[in-house]
């Protein structure tokens, strides 16, 4: 073995030759083959992998759509309809891309919820979690920009409403909006820049995903018990155990995805977006895509425009400081009876906000949205800090393998690491 070459363990001469010079095979083997993974994952741990698959699907379908899409106010709508009719399997590309955005948010919401429930945001995974929030923000931006591209009524009016939010910023707000639009209203320059950014951001996302996974492979994964693996008895090599388990989840995900694409491709969309954009006709209710509804509800819950914008931004930004708001040393909510209830109520408030976001801004929805908004923030700013100081957690198991292997030990029945993956 010449000096400067990597000591490869691969037998195949070609792989070995490459690996000695660029140890990608060794790296893959280390990070995805033998990578020691807690043995007690439940299916919630499937969703990170699903998100990555989803991103790849979005990029793949997006590139082919881009080959046939025309970013011009006079042709955008018709070019999308041409994709649906005259491009071979164009309808499939478009429906996969449009519903893929919805699937992406379903997957990411479950993925984030998993982190909240099992305390995956706590030390040492704070940065990993924060990178995740960055990905979430990039995704939201990408989805918003993409929804503008087909240039239907909701595209146009959604873009108008959302970009107008920046006008709430004192002094410079109006100038910022003009700058974003590239003119004095949402128009062709807006569509062009949105298209450019919509193409760019997924690749930026990909870069951050790489960092997210790199950070994960430093700290290792959390697990449903939230305790650190104590030794090899607590872990399994990623392959074949989790490659096999993730494959099961992946197929379930594909079935849900296929059901949407083939049997209800427009279920989650808005009919108004099949009417070409018309700056002179405002639709009676302008609603964003379903995945933005909770944040839209927070925006409208505040009577003041600037206040609404700040609170809406804050509802996501707050996740960046979550690792320091939650001071409890216990990660998993399985061992935090009070915080667990508080988090479940938070989940309810999230869905309530989603529901209110779809309703016109009238009573009782405004009031309900306000109460839900209050709880949404109180959970992070009041309940978690207070419980961190006050709550007495349940006793933690001695190690991961103990409750898994012996089925219990000192745990109360409900908190037992019931091997969901017993399968």
């Amino acid at each position: 073995m010449a000096i400067g070459l990597h000591e490869s363990e691969f037998k195949n001469p070609v792989i070995r030759w490459v690996d000695a010079r660029l140890p990608v095979f060794t790296m893959m083997q280390k990070e995805y083959g033998t990578f020691p993974t807690p043995r007690n994952f439940n299916y919630f741990w499937n969703f990170g992998g699903l998100a990555l698959v989803n991103l790849v699907i979005m990029i793949a379908t997006g590139i082919f759509l881009a080959m046939n899409y025309t970013a011009h106010v006079n042709f955008a709508f018709d070019s999308v309809e041409r994709i649906m009719r005259d491009v071979n399997y164009g309808w499939l590309l478009r429906y996969v891309h449009a519903n893929g955005a919805s699937m992406f948010f379903i997957v990411i919401y479950i993925h984030i919820w998993r982190a909240l429930y099992y305390g995956s945001y706590k030390a040492p995974r704070e940065l990993l979690f924060m990178l995740g929030v960055v990905i979430f923000l990039l995704m939201m931006a990408t989805a918003f920009l993409g929804y503008v591209l087909p240039w239907g009524q909701m595209s146009f009016w959604g873009a108008t409403v959302i970009t107008n939010l920046f006008s709430a910023i004192p002094l410079v707000g109006e100038s910022i909006v003009t700058w974003l639009w590239g003119g004095f209203s949402v128009d062709n320059p807006t569509l062009n820049r949105f298209y450019s950014l919509h193409y760019l951001l997924p690749f930026v996302t990909f870069g951050v995903v790489f960092l997210h996974i790199a950070a994960l492979h430093i700290t290792g994964s959390n697990n449903p018990l939230g305790i650190d693996p104590k030794g090899p008895q607590d872990t399994l090599p990623f392959h074949p155990y989790y490659t096999a388990k993730d494959s099961v989840g992946l197929i379930v995900y594909f079935i849900v995805f296929a059901a949407l694409v083939f049997f209800a491709p427009n279920l989650l969309g808005h009919p108004d977006n099949y009417t070409p954009a018309n700056p002179l006709v405002t639709p009676p209710h302008i609603v964003p895509e379903w995945y933005f509804l909770p944040f839209y509800a927070i925006l409208r819950a505040v009577p003041d425009k600037l206040g609404g914008v700040i609170l809406m931004g804050g509802s996501i930004m707050i996740l960046f400081i979550l690792p320091w708001l939650d001071t409890s040393p216990i990660r998993s909510m399985r061992f935090r009876p009070l915080a667990r209830i508080a988090l479940l109520v938070w989940l309810v408030s999230f869905f309530v906000l989603m529901y209110c976001g779809a309703k016109p801004p009238e009573e009782p929805w405004v009031l309900i949205a306000r109460l839900a908004t209050l709880y949404y923030f109180a959970y992070f700013l009041v309940i978690l800090p207070a419980l961190g100081a006050k709550e007495r957690g349940l006793p933690l198991p001695a190690s991961i393998s103990m409750p898994v292997l012996r089925g219990g030990g000192p745990l109360p029945a409900g908190a037992m690491a019931k091997p969901m993956e017993k399968a």
Partner: protein
């Protein structure tokens, strides 16, 4: 905090009413929810009834196309409805299309070809509004996807005209239709009476029949991929279910030494 409390009570009450009573009584101007209509293209295995869609095209051509464009469609697309090449050519040739410029630099009229888009009744929006009392007849290419309720709504709308109830004052040039938002629509009842069109296959052209047929045609026009989409979906989901079963079995086998 009295206002807050009373508002809270109002909220709970409203929530309760929604749960118990379903839709509250509709205000006079609000549109009725269109009833569920059974169509050949419903369901997982639905396909377009070709005969009905062809009759529907005839209704579109003879009635609706006087006001409504279908810009996304070419005459050649009609082959998918089972019309022969010759029939498509003949239909296309009935319209005059503006083309050019020719070698002398002149625009000219020529008979339509299968590759031409459906000819629009008006050259622009202003002309369309001028001919329709200020209202714009929307393009019908994707109308079934562009309305809440889809085909059910279109069928309900076309058959939902009646005299206005006691006390409802119609605006000038408006017609009463309980399924239209606001219940006043600028489109006069397009399907007015039996025998308005004469179907070649002998089907009696009742209003109900014409409406169903034209709705089937418009549903095809909005989603010409529907049949292949559903077929592909059934196959893919079957395949995935089997693959899922196998994958699950493999997973169990791999994990059998862990528990």
């Amino acid at each position: 905090m009295a206002p807050l409390r009373s508002r809270l009570r109002a909220a709970l009450l409203a929530g309760g009413l929604l749960l118990v009573g379903g839709a509250p009584a509709l205000a006079a101007g609000e549109a009725l929810h269109p009833p569920d209509t059974k169509f050949s293209f419903d369901g997982l295995f639905g396909t377009f009834d070709r005969a009905s869609a062809q009759r529907g095209f005839q209704v579109y051509k003879e009635v609706c196309s006087n006001c409504h464009s279908m810009r996304q469609h070419s005459y050649r697309n009609l082959r998918e409805l089972g019309l022969s090449d010759a029939e498509v050519r003949a239909i296309a040739a009935t319209v005059q299309v503006n083309d050019g410029p020719n070698d002398e630099g002149q625009m000219f009229e020529r008979p339509g070809r299968p590759s031409d888009r459906f000819r629009s009744p008006f050259t622009n929006e202003k002309a369309a509004r001028a001919a329709n009392n200020g209202a714009l007849p929307p393009d019908l290419s994707v109308i079934v996807k562009a309305r809440e309720g889809g085909a059910d709504y279109i069928h309900a709308l076309l058959t939902g005209y009646s005299d206005p109830p006691e006390g409802v004052e119609l605006m000038d040039g408006m017609n009463y239709n309980k399924y239209f938002a606001g219940r006043q629509i600028a489109m006069a009842p397009p399907l007015a009476g039996e025998g308005q069109v004469e179907f070649k296959d002998g089907t009696t052209a009742t209003v109900e029949q014409m409406s169903r047929d034209v709705t089937t045609f418009l549903a095809w026009a909005a989603e010409p991929e529907l049949e292949s989409r559903k077929q592909m979906g059934v196959r893919i989901i079957l395949f995935l279910t089997i693959l899922g079963g196998l994958t699950y079995a493999v997973k169990r086998k791999i994990w059998s030494d862990v528990h």
